[in-house]
Symmetry: D2
Subunit: 497 residues, 4 copies
């Protein structure tokens, strides 16, 4: 497989991973009972709702959730929700903010101060979106925009939301995931006067109710959609087709959402232009090379406290992700081997100073095995049988198929969870391998995404909204577009101070 193909595959799979797990059902079946036609097929399974939701939320948790290594108290208080989980539903409560505003629904408006602090911290680390807010504040390029938003709700998206408002937009906002909302942040948004409908631990019915509240409100005709997964788009399309006709543009973040848009487009049902920000250059660069370069180290440190100097590591795959991992580990004094089947990537690895090997040549000797190929079963039971005691095995490249984890679920092996995301798999002779995140993406499970990376996505979304909202008639047809390169470049300029 060529490098380009491989990288694309990794990207796709990465995103598919988070998206195919989305835990809610179709509004048609789970919510209000629409016509039930199968034109609007639910692409997500109900089965593994719980685990995948957790996984998804872990990616987007706020900094304060992720960084609690030294302070279990604050991390506990920060999620806050645990003690609320048995409360009555927010839908049953009557709440209003300190100005008397009540067009929102959150877990507990009283938590707003803590959420505001989180938002302020996030602002520090999102220079691009803050620069955009400042530069465009006078122009108000989103004046008269009426946006229905449906995304994760956390400190970083709050910065996006408040930036869109600063650029002139009116907004109503719901969560795209029933588990990922940070209640305190939602409270802070409500306190600031935003119509936000979201809490951690929504039921499926709640989920669709929240979106519906964003779409259908008194004297509210939305003209833009910012979506992450396609749920807001599809609810509006199915339930409020007339309203949907007046939409000027859709910005979609996720692979699944983009996929659904393409299907609509093929089926002739997409009546508005849409922009796919998932595949923008800026995003792929950051989600791969630069972000992984740091998150592989962070993931391994936080989960195992391993010392890197002098360790032998094999990295399977030398696409962008493998390049980032190799560079970081070499920088810390590891001896790094690379496996790679694409000859051009293999030669790059070689010229970059890595011995290109077959996994079997080194698997008995290495201390750490990292997969980043985008392929299946790159690390097999046979390989793991040969690993030495204490070998760490983890996956940076593909949802959960690169390491054949199932092959480890046999009676002769004992699994011992030594801490969250860390399992010892113990062979009959006492040998242990240390499996991280059960073979899922270790950087999503064991580290936190820097606000900086998140903020690039946010800024991209904002620019896409501006572009679609202000495009002269005829520039975009009812199709799915990539962000124009010029906008990507403008984005970078925002980040270059």
């Amino acid at each position: 497989m060529s490098e380009a193909i491989e990288i694309r595959t990794i990207i796709n799979n990465r995103n598919l991973n988070s998206v195919t797990d989305t835990p809610v059902t179709d509004p048609a079946s789970g919510a209000k009972g629409l016509d039930g036609s199968n034109a609007f097929v639910c692409q997500r399974s109900k089965l593994d709702t719980k685990t995948s939701a957790l996984k998804k939320s872990s990616r987007y948790r706020s900094r304060s959730l992720s960084a609690s290594s030294t302070d279990s108290y604050s991390s506990a208080s920060c999620t806050g929700s645990s003690s609320d989980d048995d409360d009555i539903s927010p839908r049953e409560k009557t709440q209003q903010n300190s100005s008397g505003f009540s067009d929102f629904c959150v877990r507990n408006i009283a938590q707003h101060a803590f959420g505001r602090r989180e938002i302020e911290i996030a602002e520090q680390e999102m220079p691009g979106i803050m620069a955009l807010r400042k530069r465009a504040a006078d122009d108000r390029p989103l004046k008269n925009a009426k946006i229905v938003g449906c995304t994760h709700i956390n400190a970083q998206t709050a910065v996006l939301i408040e930036t869109l408002a600063a650029l002139g937009a009116n907004l109503r906002w719901a969560a795209c995931n029933i588990y990922s909302t940070q209640n305190e942040v939602a409270a802070a948004l409500a306190e600031a006067g935003f119509s936000v409908f979201a809490w951690r631990g929504e039921t499926e019915e709640d989920f669709w109710w929240c979106i519906d509240k964003c779409v259908n409100a008194e004297s509210w005709q939305p003209n833009m959609i910012l979506d992450d997964g396609g749920d807001a788009t599809h609810l509006m399309l199915k339930k409020y087709p007339a309203m949907f006709k007046l939409i000027k543009g859709i910005v979609e973040e996720s692979v699944t959402g983009v996929h659904r848009l393409y299907q609509l487009s093929k089926g002739g049902k997409l009546s508005v232009p849409a922009m796919n920000v998932n595949d923008s250059v800026t995003k792929t660069k950051y989600d791969n090379l630069y972000s992984c370069r740091e998150s592989i180290i962070d993931s391994l440190k936080r989960s195992t406290d391993v010392m890197f100097g002098g360790k032998q590591v094999v990295i399977c795959g030398y696409g962008e992700v493998g390049k980032g991992c190799s560079q970081a580990l070499k920088g810390f004094g590891c001896v790094v081997y690379v496996t790679e089947i694409d000859p051009i990537c293999a030669l790059q690895a070689s010229m970059d100073g890595y011995r290109v090997v077959k996994l079997n040549e080194v698997v008995r000797n290495v201390d750490i095995v990292i997969t980043a190929t985008g392929n299946k079963n790159v690390v097999t039971r046979e390989h793991m049988d040969k690993m030495k005691n204490g070998c760490i095995v983890c996956n940076m490249g593909h949802s959960n198929t690169e390491i054949d984890v199932n092959s480890l679920r046999t009676p002769d092996l004992t699994w011992e969870k030594v801490r969250s995301q860390v399992d010892h798999v113990i062979w009959p002779d006492g040998k242990r391998i240390i499996l991280l995140a059960e073979g899922r993406l270790v950087n999503l499970s064991c580290s936190s995404l820097p606000s900086f990376v998140v903020s690039i996505t946010s800024a991209t979304q904002a620019l896409a909204l501006i572009e679609l909202f202000n495009a002269p008639p005829g520039r975009y047809k009812s199709d799915v577009y990539l962000l124009p390169k010029k906008m990507g470049e403008y984005l970078i300029i925002l980040y270059s101070k």
Copy 2:
């Protein structure tokens, strides 16, 4: 100041830091009421008992405590002690292990299984001490050694304790710090038949009682002491001088303990040879260059989730610590500046590719400021007044004097603790600087020490015990020695597989 001097200073200060904070008082005054002579001066203040104990304990906490970023539950359960804090004192309880053995005193023997797992995990990452255990198991070089131990009690020291036993020694063990004991590990040691007297949250009276139980027991004449801070040594010297005369050797880990030994030696009161493992080559190399290279990254990531790529960083001081920090940050794509007053170190920095500057030249522009000089007030209020919004400030070099933190405690500035170990200091105009660990050593507060590094210290201690116990008469007099170079080299060989 020359490089050599600077490094020594850093080392000394680092260790002094942890030791001068030792939270307990002298047995003469605070505990049992000995003769009260001031020959045995207490070098530690009672005043900051609490915070410093926490700091000290954080350095030696087990991996499971440190790595809980994704799982607040397990970290809570792991310390376990919180729920026990109001329990009756272990001294009041009657406990026995599953073999009926009861010559120990721990918080709760029932917690042993969890502690054993922690010990097994630690064994994976302590290859040197495990290799020593294996290689010397037949020789039993510590046969007939009767060791009184007084150290932190955690998974890594448990590996040391069990190794000493495997080499033939009899042991009795107490904690050197009232807060740092991992109760589960102590329970596991008791379950394994070790006479351990230690729990988290001892009173000062408990502290000396525990040491006394290790020294003074039926049909027990100890002949070796392994000490960390000098408390076991001094209790024995003061309270059981006859017993002390029969000691063959003392191994001391801390700077304070070493300092006390030198004072005894000067005063003509040291009647046995002692070995200072604090200043061994292996330890200084690891505690400085290699360990700091990784811990600076880990500390910054865990506390701030900052993305390193493209950040501008200034590192004050280019001794071993500064070299490690610079290398790591450059490797992650930071632009690194160095300040250095020693011209030879400055030229090294220059030849290594860093711009050598005065702090004032860059302080307005950098994103991160790191101190590693061993000097006082390297970063002043004036500097911090100039820093840009969001600048991160932390200290890798000196207890808590490199950053003039006190200068920030003025009415015009607001402190906001955004999470444990992370404060925002807010200027009247809204500018925030992010201060880590209140200026104390950030790598001790915000990351965890890899077992690998700890294990080098442990193996050094074991080798020092073997050397002193087996030395032919006359090799060592009643003085303080460094570990012979040959032993240091043997140690390295253990680690080189």
Copy 3:
């Protein structure tokens, strides 16, 4: 300009550079007096024949020539040709090799031993082409191929020629440049029985006579052309159109040659498939990132003996060439600044740890200025006026337009040639800047191209010949093709041992 575009531009310009300088005139006008139609336009100027020929030849000189990069005189003497320069023309001589074979024309057949040794040395460093020779020797995939070759003639091309023969081909070979032939190598080929017609210092009439001898020989109907600049192709097309019709394929190395092929194709005059090896992935990767990473260091060292550690360097442009230069100089302890107008490349530079600046910000302080943008007048007189005494200025990116060298040819400045390729330009106040290669490509002038890099091009040419010669009918039409990706990958496999 986007990165992709920039890189392409650099590649194109680089090649255009060597090609537009080709020093000979059209056969139509300069040699035998063909029909003179302007359909066959000469794209090369006669004006700067001499200097450009030297420049071109320097790129392709053999290793032994290259070691004396600073002394063109000695390199001439090194080939031994200097003493022959006044000899009678080879065309006047009667020579035969030791087997009595005489179908060749070289300077002096007696020099063959030295040339053979050069070929053997080159073989050591061309693993890919040698592997191809070995692997395909049994298949003889070029059996029945009759190839007219027209390339530089040096040790590396001799290895290519002998490989083609080993694969089954019959060959006749001429030089593509009147100055670049290594006489000893030509003699060695003649001694080995090859019909080679080339010597250093051909006249323009000689040049066309030699090609003619390769095309038009008794009982010789060529079916393949391997060309570098398009001269053999065009001579055959113009003078022997019937013969041209029977050609199965053309492999062309240079940008100019490719350009001419495209023009023929447009004009409907290209009756055979042609393959453009200039733009193959393998070639661009090597001619840019990996090759430049080494050649910038080599060029600066050989010409100036500068010590890199601690120097400040600015690199203009962060395409593949700039990336390679930056990496190498950072690795040697330089402080590297980057200028870049493309925001995506700029952000890459930033994330890779370089300060992105405007040239004006740093030009007063840097020790070395390197251009690699592909643009014109990146370094102006105004910049050079500001540079400090001793600043080194060189160009890695564009023929000779990136540095505005003409602006230095003013009466107030004194030029002093301090050695070959190194000029001091002296300001009235005594300030000197050190200009390398008069602003031409420094790595072509001041270092030598590793055989390894050359050999990748050679192997690509061989594979292209095999592909075209063996392609089933219909796979290729009368058009210009790129080497199929599969062949590129096969090539890499040859190099991956």
Copy 4:
């Protein structure tokens, strides 16, 4: 062997190497017939005068000579002396400079312009010595100093000489080596009015005559000696003992000279303080880590044009030299292995990311073998028998004993000199290894020493002269001293701009 010892050994051997080869005989026997007592023992052999002189001179040749490292002939021609070699002796000629001054003896005063240019170029790259010249010009700290100098005479030492004069000194200067003088530079000094007595190709009698002319001149009582090898010191001591008594201090550059001073001191014959600049911190740092980091690359490139990316390299020894080599080669994309017997250095190598191996484990696979141990026969015939075809073997660490070159001089092997400093040694099966500099120090033979490095030595010499000349009575006794650390630091400050 410990690292410290190893490094010292390397340094010593390196210098001994160049010094024990000094080609001239004792003045007692070879020149004027002194008393012939053996108190003044000649420590140098006449036997290998020629080759060693060339080697020595190669280290100190000027930049323009160095650029043609592979061609000793052309370098000779470059100085222009070749045509003079058969001239009548300079001692027979009558020459005067353009001011009518004639108290000098050089090859040809007419060559002064070329020499001046070389000096001016050197000034550009010797910032420290030039800064010293500027800073101290007003103080004139060498006012009234009368210095006899005896060093290599090239552009860099000319900068030193003119600096000393600018600081107030009077000077008379001779060469310390009969082959290393650059005639043009000597002419330029003479033209500038310096009493210089030196030319390339002196006889032994000339050599002592020149020194004598510097010591013994009308109305000239020298009070300082700057020596390189101890010849001026010893001539004065033997022949002009009364004059020697009035000397205030000696500065000695070479190991041999230092050794001779220590012997004098032991024998009670050293009546003046002397300063050993050979072992100053600044010199050892530069001659090892930083200089070797660059010169290994330069040497390999100039001699073999090898491409580094993807090559496998083994470096024997991980002292300062080995560290520098490893870092440079890793930076260029080599896979680097290290052999090391000292466990502490071995662990450093491991923590720095190199696989520590035994040579036998990798010798069959590597492309380049570099020795840097300071030991003998590190690479044996047995190793070389196993190397693969094309393997490059060279020595960075010890005069010529690290590679057992003699073991290659057996009838079954063929040596083929492929260019200067490069031999192919050919096994019966056709395998070739590429041996550089016949196993002598490759960086002295195949690259040139940057002026920057040379200039640090020069500045150290100047500071040592200033210190000795101005020291208050009693600070220095009649012994051999190291440069005070403060002076070393001052030196660094000069270089830090």
